[in-house]
Amino acid sequence: MRESTVERWCRRVVLTLLTVFVVVPLYAMVSSAAKPLKDVQGTFTWIPGHPTGKAFVDMWTTVPLARYLVNSLVVSGVASVFSVSVAVFVAFAISRYRFRGRQAFSVTVLATQMFPGILFLLPLFLIYVNLGNATGIELYASRTGLIITYLTFSLPFSIWMLVGYFDSIPRGLDEAAQVDGAGPFRILFRVILPTAVPGIVAVVVYAFMTAWGEVLFASVMTDENSRTLAVGLQGYATQTQVYWNQVMAASLVVSVPVVAGFLLLQRYFVAGLTAGAVK
């Protein structure tokens, strides 16, 4: 199947336009992070006239960025590990057992994900505040409250992808282990999990990304001490002037780990989507 000349040129033009659309904001972020404050307060320039790393130093003192970073790390780290652990059991059940309510459960989990976040936000906010007042358990404005909330956010996609991976593991392996006298948990931990490691890593990264990027609940459920990056980064704009170079530097620093993780594992996301979505 050969490609005609017209087609080839169409492809080049379209892909170039899309590349420009994607790259320009990314370039502006990186180049502006390397400018001194004076240069981002005047007309935009494509090439930094006086490149400097000062924004990367100053950004830590303009707002308490280190605290926000630690909060985000703790919340996203704990939430992603726990949520994937929960998803592993669900995926194991759905992949290896037929039982009543199996479909209903999968559909419900997927459906809750599609409901407007604002619908849960108001009641959850009130429940956390009132629970705190009544029992002294601090869920509102605490990292624990945020972690509990985030646990469910990546569940549907994690379950979906993991079921795809587990289904692709030959059942013969289970049966061989069963013959050797292994129970269900032994099969899960000794046979299935070691085989599905890449998929599980991909799902953990996805769950981490979800929590790392969540804005709505973070903006309502946190105070100055428990604030995460999603809310904290807006702090640069509430000063008497906007430190755009520092905002860009901070955005770059908080993006690099998740973007790198996602792009390194992109192969597994495509595989997971193919296994889960197209079936």
Binding site: C10, R11, V14, L15, L18, V22, V23, V24, P25, S32, V40, T43, F44, V86, A87, F89, V90, F92, Y97, R98, F99, G101, R102, F105, S106, V107, V109, A111, T112, M114, F115, P116, I118, L119, F120, L122, P123, L126, I127, V129, N130, I148, I159, M209, V215, L216, V220, L229, A230, W244, V247, M248, S251, V258, F262, L263, V270, A271, A277, V278
Partner: protein, 327 residues
């Protein structure tokens, strides 16, 4: 003529997974309880974070839950459907605002989902054939999706600044398309800005899904189409699109729901107070809840939104499933 035979892959996509003919496992009562045990942690979480708050939300929408009652909501008087009447009646100013917000949201969703899908499909189709730099482009195109939403949107806020932003620099100083530098984040242009940012963020997801879907199209289909003399458009309409139908069914629904419920983009782009041209529904509810401190009315609007989304989803699934069985 190109004739396409439907393969076994062309099965309904999405959540209802069809049984693959595995023998049911029945090993006595002890074993059959195990799957439920495995689901228990997830079930508890779903109940605690989604199901119970949702029911509480419905209850809240029937209370006069204003700032006086938020600390102790048991004191809030029951007002029945008053909150619904106050917010959904289009003859009142509040209802008018909600209607306006609804209109903006519909326009925003249609434009953003449509463009994201077209961009994603174009990129996926053009990246099907191997060429030098393909892997690099694929990685590049996925980057906006991997970027945390706040980092992406804050960067766009910077680009859209009137005096110091890149957008006006290019349009006014470099291309001379406009004499006066326009405002992008207030006034009529704010809607355009919102759509641009939303498409920038969500088209890579469409691309990712469509790319995954295209990997399942057997090469032989394209080969036999080429032998039959099918050109680019013919191959697209007779092979690619029909084979992508299951992916599209889920993808369009997911994009629709995400975009319609989108809160992050306007919240971050406009710093919490979106201009009325870009006042989409989540922001509207957020404002009336947390700025006006009226959780009763906020909940009523949320419940109405949910009912609307459920209705649209149900109709969509009904229509697309029927069309598929007729096709």
């Amino acid at each position: 003529m190109v004739t396409i035979t439907r393969t076994g892959r062309d099965r309904p996509a999405g959540p209802p997974r069809t049984d693959t003919g595995r023998p049911a496992r029945r090993r006595g009562p002890q074993r059959s309880r195990l799957p439920y045990l495995l689901l228990l942690p997830a079930l508890i979480l779903e109940l605690a974070v989604h199901i119970i708050p949702m029911l509480v939300g419905v209850w809240m929408s029937l209370l006069e839950l204003t700032q006086f009652h938020i600390r102790d909501w048991s004191s809030a008087p029951f007002v029945g459907l008053a909150n619904y009447r106050a917010t959904l009646d289009v003859h009142t100013p509040t209802g008018q605002q909600l209607l306006q917000s609804f209109g903006v949201t519909v326009a925003y969703t249609v434009l953003s989902v449509g463009l994201s899908w077209v961009f994603g499909l174009t990129a996926a189709v053009f990246l099907q054939r191997p060429f030098r730099g393909r892997a690099l482009l694929r990685t590049l195109f996925l980057t906006p999706y991997a970027l945390p939403v706040y980092a992406a949107v804050i960067t766009w806020t910077f680009l859209f600044q009137r005096d110091t932003g890149l957008v006006n620099h290019v349009l006014v100083d470099q291309l001379h398309l406009m004499k006066q530098a326009p405002f992008w984040l207030i006034g009529d242009n704010s809607f355009t800005a919102l759509v641009v940012v939303s498409v920038w963020r969500s088209w890579p997801f469409a691309f990712l899904c469509l790319m995954a879907g295209l990997q399942n199209v057997p090469v032989e289909l394209y080969e036999s189409a080429a032998i039959d003399g099918a050109g680019f458009w013919r191959r697209l309409s007779a092979v690619t699109l029909p084979m992508l139908r299951p992916v599209n069914q889920v993808l369009l629904l997911v994009l629709f729901l995400w975009t319609f419920n989108d809160f992050n983009t306007p919240y971050l782009l406009f710093g919490g107070s979106a201009p009325k041209q870009a006042d989409i529904i989540s922001i509207h509810i957020y404002k009336s809840s947390f700025i006006a401190w009226n959780f009763g009315e906020g909940s009523a609007m949320s419940v109405a939104l949910l009912v609307f989304l459920l209705a649209v989803t149900a109709v969509y699934l009904l229509v697309t499933n029927r069309r598929r069985s007729h096709a």
